[in-house]
Symmetry: C2
Subunit: 504 residues, 2 copies
């Protein structure tokens, strides 16, 4: 999931000043409401050393009524704590109803530092994933709101920060040999972080990854996320509790009155980083396509021999060129080895079953390749945007989909997912072209135009989808699709490379 994070995200001072103050006030109001609603809140800050956890916590508690929170900084377990199950010292510190517990590092130590530094045996940290998920589910079921942040910076940025701290008279003591040692193992830690995010991002306690290169950006992201989550928890509690009778006097004004601020649209998404200028000449296209199609045919055979199934997902904007790309993928392949599965709105039995049902039904046999032209991601795209499912349902779906794809991976499948990206202007051009050319007219409908009007809502949904479901076992590839030649070759090539990698 980390690869989807744009570490260059920044907020200039002017924008920050404009956004941050109202956000801070909103959060402070929400905290009072949480107290009145007696909801316990747990906020977890994990992240790279020097990523700015301290700064975020400082800013956060600066605006909260000090009677309402406690910050827990728990370094390595003491000798006495070592004599209990590792969750013991965290259980002891969970907040009561209406309180907020802020954890500067947490129970995730077990599967980060303690794991990487081999302070606990493998079977112990492996088991901890279950114990952590159970711990968090037990609290969430009882009404606790859990918000977890991973503050992310690059290895180079971490080095810069350590060096800057070493040069400072006041901060040099904070950088130790141990920090530098951990820094050298950045890649080992990163692998552990990926697994942590994948295995413990649950519907009841999801992770939020914060790009923390820029402090202002990080603070805003943390505050916004926390405000959103708090608001949702209050709404859920209000929905579950019958509303109190209206107060007898019209003068009564409680600060706890329900207010629902509209959620701010995402200013920045993973799509913004895509370089839409990529292209191939006709000649390059021909050579490259032929080369990778040949490779794909060889690999198709290896898959068959080794009984490895392959699952390919094509998603993308309308008119981004999914159909044409899929035709190039199968262009060189043996038709006995693959199936293309087009997915439209569910009808008949598909509509009366669980949404994952028809996709499970289409799982390829071992040794075969299934190419989905649209997929189970409809749940978090069109169904989310058009309101065909509830917010609770699409939020839960990220986790369900990750579990589904993990099952496929466990079975030995190669899972490859493409998002075909074009600009809004290019989409318009292609729509108009489709309307002009008789042979293409069937491809454009009223619905396409309607979807287009919701571009920004889809953009947010795509961002959430990619950041929540890009996993080490089923990563997303965003394909630059302004130039069809480039997009087609990129698809064939990425698929071939993924297959080659898994098949050794």
């Amino acid at each position: 999931m980390l690869e989807t994070v744009d570490l260059d995200l920044k907020l200039n001072r002017a924008a920050y000043d404009r956004i941050f103050r109202p956000l801070r006030d909103r959060l402070s109001l929400l905290q009072r409401m949480v107290f009145e609603a007696q909801v316990p809140v747990i906020v977890v800050f994990e992240g790279w050393d020097a990523a700015g956890k301290g700064d975020c916590i400082e800013k956060l508690v600066g605006r909260i009524d000090p009677r309402g929170y406690e910050v827990h900084f728990l370094p390595k377990a003491t000798e006495d704590e070592e004599l209990r199950p590792f969750l013991w010292r965290f259980w002891a510190r969970i907040p009561g109803r209406g309180d907020m517990g802020i954890f500067d590092r947490s129970w995730y130590r077990r599967i980060l530092g303690e794991r990487v530094e081999r302070e606990v045996p493998r079977n112990v940290w492996q088991r901890s994933f279950d114990e952590i998920n159970q711990f968090e589910r037990t609290l969430a079921d009882d009404g606790t709101l859990l918000v977890k942040f991973w503050l992310h910076i690059s290895r180079a940025e971490q080095r810069r920060r350590f060096e800057r701290m070493e040069r400072s008279d006041y901060e040099s003591f904070r950088v130790t040999g141990k920090d530098w040692k951990a820094h050298k193992r950045y890649d080992d830690y990163r692998e552990a972080v990926e697994e942590m995010l994948e295995r413990t991002s649950t519907p009841w306690a999801p992770w939020t990854i914060v790009a923390a290169t820029d402090r202002r950006y990080a603070r805003v992201k943390v505050f916004e996320t926390l405000a959103e989550a708090t608001q949702r928890a209050l709404d859920a509690k209000a929905a579950a509790t019958p509303p109190p009778r209206p107060p007898p006097s019209p003068a009564s004004k409680s600060p706890a009155k329900r207010r629902r601020a509209p959620s701010p649209a995402l200013a920045h998404t993973v799509l913004d980083e895509v370089d839409l200028g990529k292209k191939l000449t006709a000649r390059q296209y021909e050579v490259e396509l032929a080369r990778w199609q040949k490779r794909l045919r060889e690999l198709e055979y290896v898959c068959y021999e080794r009984r490895a199934p392959v699952v390919v997902v094509y998603e993308g904007w309308d008119a981004a060129g999914k159909g044409g790309s899929i035709r190039r993928v199968i262009g060189g392949m043996d038709p006995r080895g693959y199936a293309v599965i087009p997915i439209a709105a569910p009808k008949g039995a598909d509509a009366t079953h669980h949404y994952l049902w028809r996709f499970w039904n289409k799982v390829p046999k071992a040794g075969h390749i299934a190419i989905f032209d649209r997929s189970w991601y409809g749940r978090v795209l069109v169904e989310r945007v058009e309101g065909y499912c509830s917010e609770e349902q699409w939020r839960r779906a990220y986790h369900e989909i990750n579990e589904f794809e993990r099952s496929l991976h466990n079975f030995g499948a190669v899972v490859v997912k493409f998002w075909l990206h074009i600009s809004k202007a290019t989409q318009l051009r292609r729509f108009q072209e489709r309307e002009r050319i008789a042979s293409k007219r069937y491809k454009i409908t009223e619905e396409d135009w309607r979807n287009r009007e919701k571009w920004d809502l889809y953009r947010t949904a795509v961002h959430d989808m990619i950041s929540q479901t890009s996993t080490s076992y089923a990563p997303w590839t965003i394909i630059e699709a302004e130039d069809k030649n480039w997009a087609r070759v990129r698809g064939v090539r990425t698929l071939a490379e993924a297959m080659a990698k898994r098949l050794g």
Copy 2:
């Protein structure tokens, strides 16, 4: 969990005839209501060969509208099915909304037959626990009702049935060499069944163990459980959906009108099997107590040396003798090694935190012994019976408690749990005695008398508690406590034996 099942449970024909017909009609009505409410239902039948799965299914479908259900009998996976993840063929068969899918054997094959017969490698079946729990949770979150039965018979009963079948002209073909081979491995299978029950009995898809020695009893238990679960699912759905406007005409009588039949009291509980006649003479008591107290002191030292924590839970009827028993347990021990923790109704911080919080806080250090005089089981006893928590909360608690105790076990703890059992008459005698004797009067309160009036409700709660939370890693021991001498020695001895077993 299997050891709590009384396999001698029987229903005579007269009782059966009286109970079964109305139950069948109720279930048939409920099935129509489920159809109208569009709730998908999955019923899983697992159990020993010849335990009577077929008979139950036959009786069940005999009363259901044939358009509403499908029975799935899936033997060993076909070659084609083997080429997909093991859940694939089950996903393909999940019922649509309003339908009922009845599985004669199911996805549990993977962790029963396939596991025991080593048809899949260890890491694959180990992983299946997660995949199965995720599969069931995904369906339950979407509104599917899951009801799972384990039909239980003893090894001897299975042998008798096989022999009887072999003697019959019509059934002999059903007993094969493979069946006899599996029969010989009854104990291996039983171990796998225990782990299956422990790891996949979840709040969203709990197991019901059915004592199946007597067919009539088994049928009634299956029908009753299914009717209860269906009713709960309908109630939950009705509570989540705003009620429809009242029909305009008073003549409208829909069969789908909500009816809530009172849940029948348990006719039989694990407590009924307890032999309350056990006693020790004063002389035996002295000798035995001294012997086991000495052993306990030795073991206390071994625990300390090996850094193994010990958790002892004392629960029981009021006046069953918990206090006296605990005094005998600690009588011979070194006070530096243990703590007795009395638990009363939560107050202060205990009342504003998650109910497990104060027990986590009291987890003993490695090498130490904690004896709980009443415990976290208050949630499923007094809090359930007195309505201090919601039905949803106490139902969820069985799973939460099992996870809690499993964490302790994972950490290396010995977990021993006692239920001190006396008859209702004995309780009365002891209450009266307490009122008579000045020095004991403080021990009897109005509350004791009030609790006594709810004897039958507690009896059901105790039965559910023991059957849902007696696990291989934290088993319950029911102590016959009519005779205090017997009860006291039994406690000291059971604890010593459990410690000796774990410490090797």
